[in-house]
């Protein structure tokens, strides 16, 4: 069965420092991996995805994520955090050989402190 784990409920980081939001996954085959961000009273916004190819994926707003097959991880990163990055972040996985539904993690609240 597919599953996604986001081990941290909340991550605090100072503005200007690098940030990492962790995600690990489990699928039976090869995964498609996604990151979404959710701002208060707004819908989920797509940030980036890994389908195939280069393990380092670059996305919107300066975010990037690294696919690590041996560690089954897809951590979200940004070199320099902004206060406006404060939001709820969700990792999602789809089994490439399965149906088209996404399995989401429970979310990580990122708080960037000025």
């Amino acid at each position: 069965a597919q599953s996604v784990a986001q081990p941290e409920d909340q991550v605090n980081v100072a503005e200007g420092n690098p940030l990492t939001v962790k995600c690990t996954y489990s699928v039976s085959g090869n995964p498609y991996l996604f990151w979404y961000v959710q701002y208060p009273n707004r819908g989920l916004q797509f940030l980036l995805k890994y389908i195939t190819g280069d393990n380092l994926v670059k996305g919107s707003y300066g975010f990037e994520a690294e696919f690590n097959k041996s560690q089954t991880s897809f951590h979200l990163k940004k070199p320099s955090a902004l206060v406006s990055d404060s939001a709820l972040y969700f990792c999602a996985v789809r089994d490439r050989a399965g149906t088209y539904k996404y399995i989401f993690g429970t979310g990580t609240r990122l708080k960037v402190l000025a």
């Binding site: 996604v4 498609y32 996604f34 979404y36 009273n41 707004r42 819908g43 989920l44 916004q45 797509f46 995805k49 969700f90 999602a92 789809r94 149906t99 088209y100 539904k101 996404y102 399995i103 989401f104 993690g105 429970t106 979310g107």
Partner: protein, 113 residues
């Protein structure tokens, strides 16, 4: 262009009542998905349409939940005999084709009293 829209944005109903939630996908998107998000949780898959047909309804919790997409565009999620446990934000997403990136609407917050 216009994104996915959902109406109403908020719905308050009483236990036992029937509700309908509407989703307007991005124009031209053939695939449409419904998810449910409870407080403190990630979205949970309910059902997926490819065109007019439900290709995967494995996430519907029971037979009180039903969804339609009669013309392959707008979709309606229908909940009969609502229960307090149905209270959640119901999210709709669409993608150009099955397997493409899903784009989400703002959700409908359902509260069952």
């Amino acid at each position: 262009g216009a994104g996915v829209s959902q109406t109403p944005s908020n719905k308050v109903t009483e236990k036992g009542k029937y509700v309908e939630l509407r989703c307007d996908p991005i124009s031209g998107h053939t695939a449409l998905y419904w998810y449910r998000q409870s407080l403190g949780q990630g979205p949970e898959f309910l059902i997926y349409f490819q065109g007019t047909g439900a290709a995967d309804d494995s996430g519907l919790p029971n037979d009180r939940f039903f969804a339609v997409r009669p013309e392959g565009s707008v979709s309606t999620l229908k909940i009969q005999r609502t229960e307090r446990g149905d209270s959640a934000v119901y999210l709709c997403a669409s993608s150009l084709n099955s397997g493409d990136t899903q784009y989400f609407g703002p959700g409908t917050r359902l509260t069952v009293l």
